[in-house]
Point group: C2
Chain length 431, copies 2
Amino acid sequence: MQSILADRRDGRRHTKADLYDFAKGAASGSIPDYQLAAWLMAAYLNPLDQEQTAWLTLAMADSGERLDLSGLPKPWVDKHSTGGVGDKTTIVLLPLLASCGLTVVKMSGRGLGITGGTVDKLGSIPGFRLDLSPEELKTQARSIGLALTGQTPDLAPADKVLYALRDVTATVSSVPLIVSSILSKKLAGGAETVVLDVKCGRGGFMRTIEDATNLAEALSSTAKLCGLNIRIAITDMDQPLGSCVGNVLEVQEAIGVLSGEQSRFARLCISLAALTLEASGLQPNRSAAEAAARAAISTGAAKQKATEWFAAQGATVNVFSNPESMKTAPFVQTLDHSGAAGWIDDIDASVVGQVVVDLGGGRKTKSDQIDTSVGIRLHCEVGSRIEPGRPIFTVYSSNETAFLQAREALRRAVRVSPNEVDVREPVLRIL
Amino acid sequence: MQSILADRRDGRRHTKADLYDFAKGAASGSIPDYQLAAWLMAAYLNPLDQEQTAWLTLAMADSGERLDLSGLPKPWVDKHSTGGVGDKTTIVLLPLLASCGLTVVKMSGRGLGITGGTVDKLGSIPGFRLDLSPEELKTQARSIGLALTGQTPDLAPADKVLYALRDVTATVSSVPLIVSSILSKKLAGGAETVVLDVKCGRGGFMRTIEDATNLAEALSSTAKLCGLNIRIAITDMDQPLGSCVGNVLEVQEAIGVLSGEQSRFARLCISLAALTLEASGLQPNRSAAEAAARAAISTGAAKQKATEWFAAQGATVNVFSNPESMKTAPFVQTLDHSGAAGWIDDIDASVVGQVVVDLGGGRKTKSDQIDTSVGIRLHCEVGSRIEPGRPIFTVYSSNETAFLQAREALRRAVRVSPNEVDVREPVLRIL
């Protein structure tokens, strides 16, 4: 390990065998945390090149079990988002893709900070299980075409160790480390075709289109070196995604989209679904793929598939026929626009995300308990016309004190222009 | 700590308060090892500037107790060497300086790798105590003018933690980290005037005169910022220092020099003593200081002081009147020169040092037990005339197998030239 550390420190190339030893040592605990942490800092400052990033990715994927999906009806796909404020895309996309004929198996994470986690959102559906074993995942995917579980300690255990250390050593924002972390989990989860949603803006990890493009290009080239079929969309995360932020509220919004509601968020789901259907080879081109995705929603097939999915994973209530069975917080107050008429020019996703964390709907530290019933409903988006006295936000909080704090922050999140502002389409770039 | 890590990672300046928090956290254990390790790697790659190095030095000195020597008769001095093969200078220098009228209080370390440690050498004198308390140190220094102890956990505890981590994270060879480690211990030990011996060559840490000069200049400027009166000698460590390497053998050699034996090593001791006497203000200039040091040896005053010192620290035998009371290893063999006549052109100190470690006289890892009785006696130095059949080395080993391994390595350590080679003086540069 001393020579691996010295190589990284001095910017020399690692061998593939070195990176396999490193990942195995991280997973087994035979390399102590302090040496891993020193390596991570050295790798932040002397980044791995593309080939070494691919080797580290494969080494982390091979550091534990790898899910063997070879028995499933092909084509199967996986989907991943770098995370954002109000990002409930997975809940729509999985049944939508399955209803179009793909098989989808996915591991999802819990939320931390302003970016929520799919596991927390689905966990707010009464009875929903997120601890499926590899065997259960495969059986369910075979029978209904989709399955989702929380992260399991058996898949890519080296990533689990390294990710936790990156979080506390100021080494999260290193492109090769992000790339190997994301892709190693996809490989360990048995993926062949992957669609990645790289979020760009204040509500996500990459703030600028340049940073997001850098990450997307690194993900794309590393994935190819690792033998993955990959497509990447860079999508806007500067304003909150969709009209709801907060776990139960977001599931309700996803149910609405699956039931046919139109919105900017619904358009993102259709775009990502089309990208996936084309990438998998199931549809010959993007426009045919978009038509298929739209049809799956308008015919009710996607909603039907979601109903089957929720039931298969243990949901004790049909949330489509009874969306109010998911409890929202008791203290509900609406904030109206108090200024002059105009157009919404900006809604800062990071502020809205932080308000939801402060309401108790997100984690400040990994061990925090969250309140899935709180959140924010947005009545407008960038480009919306706004008049005095018209609602901007509805706050779902547990009490008035929390609401009053939220109100102060939310007032600062919105900017109104006297001039007309264009609606911003969610997809910024496709790679 | 996350912001301190991010600052170092991005090469920003720390505040003095940040570095005090960092050192306190390292000493108390409130900052976990993995964060310290990540910081060390970041500091290796984005080094601290001079002012921050001084702040870190002060912070580490203040991370525990600071020895208060204010009750002692002034002037008092401290001495430090960066460590080398055969470096027993402290054993000569301390009684020599005390016999010239200075007060010397010193903490010394144990050896690791090819560089031996004064604690191990003095520890081979029967009964010699190396665990003096701060109070005992002061009392003894007041009564006989000198005292030496092993490192105590109470002084500069942050350095103890950080040094151990540097050793296992490939971050030892960072000049600001070396500087703050050395000087924080001197400050915590109550020093006002310090003479540093920076070793240069294959038997020490700094291999080239450029690297040694860089370190010496950084030590000098940081010491001044910390209020220390400092002098630095850069001395040759390319061939072993003196005629003995190995703990008991080195004590015997030091006893010889204190008893008046002339040698290249004795000249180094006189030079360093003169530098110290001048630095402390006790002697007006270098030549007067050298004369005083020579006189202390020729009159027997230095030897007398050493006898008092050893007795004060518990020695149960007078090693001056009975040097054989220190046991050397039983298997003694001499290696003769087998080639043509000529002049010794090179003796690789790193090879000789490693042979002594392999004989059991040094530590490969910190927890190793050592055998103080083994070692190498050199019968020549660079510049010596050598004839076929004349002895080069005598090996003191515990058995024949160990001797045969040592013999192989030692044959490769020496190079003989057919042309006359100059003797190399030990002091390369004074700062």
